[in-house]
């Protein structure tokens, strides 16, 4: 090869490589978001996941599945502090039916874990559906992972179930949140991380966006059946809760959270971790780049 050709080729490569990377980053198609309403959580999920190609589009026989609901608080289901147990049970049941080798469910809880697992009704629902509750209150269950792309949280201890799983289904509940303003799909990632105090100390909104870089969910199912409008994330009483009977399903975590702000009637810019996540390339926070499918269950 002549020196000129070599330089030419080099120059071409230098231009092409970032362009290719950019092209890969920018979603070729619009992000599909399914919004289902007016049904029980189980029915909403059945309708919604069918619109995304059915559970078999996500779970193949023999795969290890992890379902990550929000089980953060020692509260009964009607207080809407934790994901609806019926929804978690239905997802586990469908995964098992699709031939999953193992379905694990866990959360790094805020209140005492055994009480959260039990009183949320989720442990019973998961066991009945053929899944397994994994413990997450012990540091030994977490593995150190590095993520250079993250802005503030470049290493973190992440729960082993997430790292071992072939399929990760993110099943948060939508709530108002004292610290992060809103909790939904992105904020749910704090339950995968061991050291939450690190996140609180190093700019919480950025760390929430960073946490979502550690493992892309294969499917996000946002439970907005009962929605805690005030005093979140725990709620003080039933007066904080409104029954909206909605559910949002998407593979795009940022798009799901962007639309969720409308259910709480929060302007998007008041929930800064959503835009920070979009800047990290985790999804789109522009409605123009979403394909929204609205369904009645």
């Amino acid at each position: 090869m002549k020196r000129r050709d070599f330089l030419k080729a080099g120059a071409a490569l230098a231009v092409a490589a970032p362009a290719a990377a950019l092209a890969a980053d920018a979603p070729a198609a619009k992000s599909k978001v399914v919004v289902v309403r007016n049904g029980e959580p189980e029915a909403l999920f059945r309708k919604g996941v069918d619109a995304l190609g059915g559970i078999t589009a996500f779970v193949k026989p023999g795969q290890k599945v992890v379902v990550k609901p929000n089980i953060g608080w020692d509260r009964a289901p009607e207080f809407a502090a934790n994901t609806h147990p019926g929804l978690v049970g239905e997802i586990v049941r469908q995964c098992v039916a699709a031939g999953a080798a193992r379905v694990e469910v866990f959360d790094h809880t805020c209140s005492a874990w055994s009480r959260c697992y039990r009183n949320s009704g989720i442990a019973a629902a998961v066991e009945a559906a053929g899944g397994k509750m994994a413990e997450a209150h012990d540091k030994d269950d977490y593995r150190e992972v590095a993520c250079p792309k993250a802005v503030n949280m470049k290493t973190a201890l992440i729960h082993r179930a997430i790292l071992e799983a072939d399929v990760f289904i993110n099943v948060p509940i939508l709530k108002n949140h004292g610290g992060a303003k809103m909790t939904a799909c992105l904020k749910n990632f704090m339950g995968l991380v061991w050291d939450r105090q690190y996140m609180h100390r190093h700019n919480l909104t950025q760390c929430i966006a960073d946490a979502a870089l550690y493992r892309k969910p294969d499917l996000n199912v946002l439970d907005a059946y009962r929605v805690m409008q005030t005093n979140g994330p725990q709620g003080v009483g039933l007066s904080d809760v409104r029954t909206l009977r909605y559910q949002i399903l998407s593979t795009d975590i940022v798009a799901a959270d962007t639309l969720a702000t409308k259910l709480l009637r929060f302007p998007l810019e008041t929930v800064p971790h959503i835009h920070r996540a979009a800047l990290l390339g985790l999804g789109t926070d522009e409605e123009a780049r979403m394909e929204i499918v609205r369904l009645e269950a």
Binding site: S114, M133, G179, R201, L204, T230, V236, G237, L263
Partner: protein, 485 residues
Amino acid sequence: MARSRLWRTLRVVRLLLAALALAATTLAFGYAADLVALLAHWWEGAPLPEETEGLVVVAQANLGPALMAVAARLSLFGLGAAAAILAATAFLGRAYCSIVCPLGIVQDVLGMLCFWRGNRPQPRLFLLRKGLGVAVWAAALVGGWTIGLRFLDPFTVFGSIAAGAWLPLLLIALLTLWRRRFFCNSLCPVGALLACGSAMAPLGLRLTDKCVKCGKCVRVCPAGCIDPKTATLDNGRCVRCLNCAAVCPVGAIAYGRNPGFRVPGRREALRAGALVAGGAALGLAARAVKPLYPAYGPRTRTAKEGIYPPGAGSRQRFLTKCTDCRLCVTHCIGHVIRPAGTFGAVHLAFDEGMCEFYCNRCAEVCPTGALLPLDLKTKQRTRLGRAEIDLAICVAGTEGFECGACAEHCPTGALRMKEDAEGIRVPTLNHDLCIGCGSCEYPCPTRPIKAVRVWPVDVQTLAADPAEVFKAVEPEPAASDEWLI
């Protein structure tokens, strides 16, 4: 008659019952749930640790705590348990000490360590035994000075061992190696009480004239209550281990009329009355000695103590009722209840957890009545302390980041994030709602000092009802077909 088969069988039954009781009492210190969880782990797919909470009754039925509970809160359960145990003394003697009392059984187990040598007769130490016993009881129950029981009540000493303290175990082991059940017969206030009943009970054990003075029974008697020279058995000290009857080669140990049976005379009654009065005075005097209970000002948490579990009532009350048996410590689901220091009381610390809002386990398990049983609703409003925020070190104040860890954990809505003049959301506190549960202090990320801390209160009062403060913010909107998204 040769060795008695009946006595040997009864002794084996005693051993089995004792083993069962020791296991149950140990498990009652919260280990039952751990055991169930472990078993569930082995048999994959078994459900979460189920309720093992009823087992705590075994602990509450101990004579020491039962009497305390009667005095502290007129516990009917305690009354029943104490009455049953004392009534049984009339015909079973101190069988309680061998079959129920966990520390007594621990001493029997430790006694096996010196299998190579036999036991020796022990001095009667009549005045020490009964005097100390009565004085300690009077000081604790009348004088309200529970420190005496803290170091001498066998259930409390066992509790500290069960909760992982090694010093009491070492001391008991040394005493046991020296003179077997010396503790039971000379120091234990419960033993002293039962000894009075057993010594004067209508029925008891005695050596018959079949005795050939071979001394075999003396060597196996842990209580040292058989005098080989006079061939007599002291029913007051006998713990009914039945070792002697099982080993006697001629069947000279007989159960029947107690030679010591008599109605106490006036002299004895007066002496007992004097001891009770003296003990009560001692208790009252001890409470007046300030250094034993240093005052913690509301803002000077110099000592680690000062915040007490829900149901303690007030600092003053709690310090005169709690014996530091640590049943609540091992049951605390938030791991916030810490054992007492030498002269302090069981207290709360929020470095590893928070007082869980939906848990009132400590007040349920407390066997001595130091914690009054609270229904969950009342417990959720009982103010254990007062939180205070130091914005000078708060993340929101120093870094300008929104953190909110305290606000998200606050279960009553007392602590909320509100925008300050610069538009940064900082924690603000509604003191009326604060119950001092530590839900804010525990997750606060600032180090080395937390920006939100809970300070002691002298009396536990009722905080405002969140349900009254937070009325429905907005009415449920009328059903509309319009899409929100």
